[in-house]
Amino acid sequence: AQTIHQWPVAEIKAVGSPLSLGCTIKGKSSPNLYWYWQATGGTLQQLFYSITVGQVESVVQLNLSASRPKDDQFILSTEKLLLSHSGFYLCAWSLETGGSQNTLYFGAGTRLSVL
């Protein structure tokens, strides 16, 4: 069975400080990987997606970057946090094919508070 693990569970960070969030998927080779962001009370906003190692596409910048250093790992980061970065960050995976197979399976998420 596939498992998706996100870390950390929660973070409290200062404005201007760096950030690194991680996500690991086990039990599935070459998944599509995604980062989503959810502001408090807001909808799910896709930030990045990756279909293979080393390739990441940006959907919305938000002064964040993402990398996929391994097939099963997806990293979200920034060198300088903004207050607007606060929210709930969700990593997700899906099968390689699109359309009806594009069911997303979400990790438990990281709750970020920027002060």
């Binding site: 599509n32 896709q46 279909i51 699109g98 359309g99 594009n102 997303l104 399976y105 990790g107």
Partner: protein, 113 residues
């Protein structure tokens, strides 16, 4: 481009009454529609997804029918339960665009006794 418009904001129901959350979409290509549910402090989970052969998906008493003529995929349940209280998101994926899933703004359903 593709987009999803759904019932949004707060929806309050009394237990036992029917649930209806609307979802309409705009799509250039063959669309697939999804309903995701997010309970408090949890990650979103798939509730239903549309089929290509017009079957009506059902799960946990919820069902939705894809109507291409009206571009809709409304979520329904005959009798609301307290445990149905959650955020509900309609989402759209288009054939051949495996990387893109567009979410609606979400509806917060609260079921009271």
């Amino acid at each position: 481009g593709d987009s999803v418009t759904q019932t949004e904001g707060l929806v309050t129901l009394t237990e036992g009454l029917p649930v209806m959350l609307n979802c309409t979409y705009q799509s250039t290509y063959s669309p697939f529609l999804f309903w995701y549910v997010q309970h408090l402090n949890e990650a979103p989970k798939l509730l239903l997804k549309s089929f290509t052969d017009n079957k009506r998906p059902e799960h946990q008493g919820f069902h939705a029918t894809l109507h291409k003529s009206s571009s809709s995929f409304h979520l329904q349940k005959s009798s609301a339960q307290l445990s149905d209280s959650a955020l509900y998101y309609c989402a759209l994926s288009e054939q051949g665009t495996g990387s893109k899933l567009s979410f609606g703004k979400g509806a917060k359903l609260t079921v009271s006794p």
